[in-house]
Symmetry: C2
Subunit: 333 residues, 2 copies
Amino acid sequence: MEVLWRQGKPPNRSETSEISSASRDPMRICVIGCGAVGSLFAAHLAKAGEAEVWAYDVWKGHVDAIRTHGLELSGAENFTVPLHATSDPEQLPRCDYGIVATKAIHTRTAIAQVAAIFDNNSAVCSVQNGVGNEEIIAKYVRFVIRGTTFPAGHAVAPGHVAFDIQGDTWIGPFEPSHTPMTKVVELAGLLTRSGMHTIALQDARGAQWTKLIFNAATNPVGALTSLDHGSATRFGPTGQLFEDLIAEGKAVAEKLGIRLHGDPWAFVEKGANAPGQHRASMLQDVLAQRQTEVDFMNGAIVEWGAKVGVPTPLNLALWTLIKGLEHSWGEPE
Amino acid sequence: MEVLWRQGKPPNRSETSEISSASRDPMRICVIGCGAVGSLFAAHLAKAGEAEVWAYDVWKGHVDAIRTHGLELSGAENFTVPLHATSDPEQLPRCDYGIVATKAIHTRTAIAQVAAIFDNNSAVCSVQNGVGNEEIIAKYVRFVIRGTTFPAGHAVAPGHVAFDIQGDTWIGPFEPSHTPMTKVVELAGLLTRSGMHTIALQDARGAQWTKLIFNAATNPVGALTSLDHGSATRFGPTGQLFEDLIAEGKAVAEKLGIRLHGDPWAFVEKGANAPGQHRASMLQDVLAQRQTEVDFMNGAIVEWGAKVGVPTPLNLALWTLIKGLEHSWGEPE
């Protein structure tokens, strides 16, 4: 088994469940970027115990807290679980799977730091916001999986993440890397059994664009108005702006030939009906004066719209306002 | 003289400068709303000494400071001048002219409080932002003057206002009130001689729409991005958004048959080249979590655009974001 594995023929775990874990190295998964969303994945995978889970993050306070007390989730689920965590790429073992959950603006730096833990049999899946992350990851790793995830949370304290909104994850091969579907199915099974329901798809672009369009509507509006997701959905004017932004994104996707995986508006409503007040991640970024992911969200829609000749004036306006806000942080008072 | 005056035939002061001030009551002017812009007018008029100047404002700290130490301007001009100030409408004498400089959202309340100091010979001029103020004033006062002013400032402390940006003021009869042009000319002369250069026009709508379009571009963008006026103009994306918002406003004005008094963009550049960092009044409002004037700015452009069939999606988006931001202040954390 060990030999086959190293030669590039990993067992299809969904067909080889009878193989004892003692007969081979344990499966190892590294969550790269263990912020709110990364922590949701890391905690569930660690709790399930099917694989050895490593969390990699440059946020040392979070890493130290996880090492000392475990990783705590509260909200939609409540548990604390021990797992490996480090800010030092040298400490990471070779891994079968990677799950990249950094902010899109940090994808390049993060994957470059940990690329050495993946080999030609490993597959690395993005569960990040926006579009364009897989292209970056594929420069460092052979097999890349396109992923989109809807669960949301926020950091409460080092070692403690609030699980605000539950939801599904869709994954599929990143087309240019010809990732075997067996790997996609294996990872989806692992995640689903851990409690993070994941659907394996031959073409995950539709799900990714659905999330992209959802994000490009809800994130900048939340960030600019300080409204939590539910309030912005229910308040007439901003709810209408969500719809108008979504309409632009859908027009671009349609022209690109991408079949959406459900209506983005359904996810707006689902989020609005979730308990608690979830602040869009971009609002969290803005409140902390951190660079946002707007280039990978509204910026991407504007860019693709321009390529295929679909006007996107509202996405451009929202992109502009967020860039202006970021610009303001760089200036002396 | 006194008799003529009370009978509704005021002297045309521009033709009767030989009349000694001792032969009649002194001319009296009340500045209603003595915030940043109102203070600029009140201070200049008081310094010129041609009329008795009263400042009316509900901000008691400011009124008390003016009474004790006079009103101080600093920045583009630097002087301190004594003048009458009160928060009690009962203390105000009958006035020949009123200059309304409150936030547009407070026009109705303010003019209702002081309406009794004006008679059928008085004329009240709005120098406020946006459109729609004159209609409100005309419900309480016979002669109304449509005004638009470009000078800008901000409150530094009670009794002290910074004079950030110098500029002209345009005034003309509010059409439905049939205000005599002699009153417009008299007030313009008084203001100009005081140092606040004012142009009397038969039709002041063009100047007002020029300022409206300027305001509807620069105010919400400044408020949402926290960028001062110069930074927002020079930063490529927000500078372009200014242009796109201005284009919508110009299209509405053109369809309404209003001939603009110069290009709004020229005022954007003038402001950007002014010394210091001027924060748009709407940004000042947002930082203080005060209701903004967006209904009288972008809201008015959207409303007029809808009436004449000119699309204004960007003005609607900016209006929406500001309303969302205001909505966020009303909610518990």
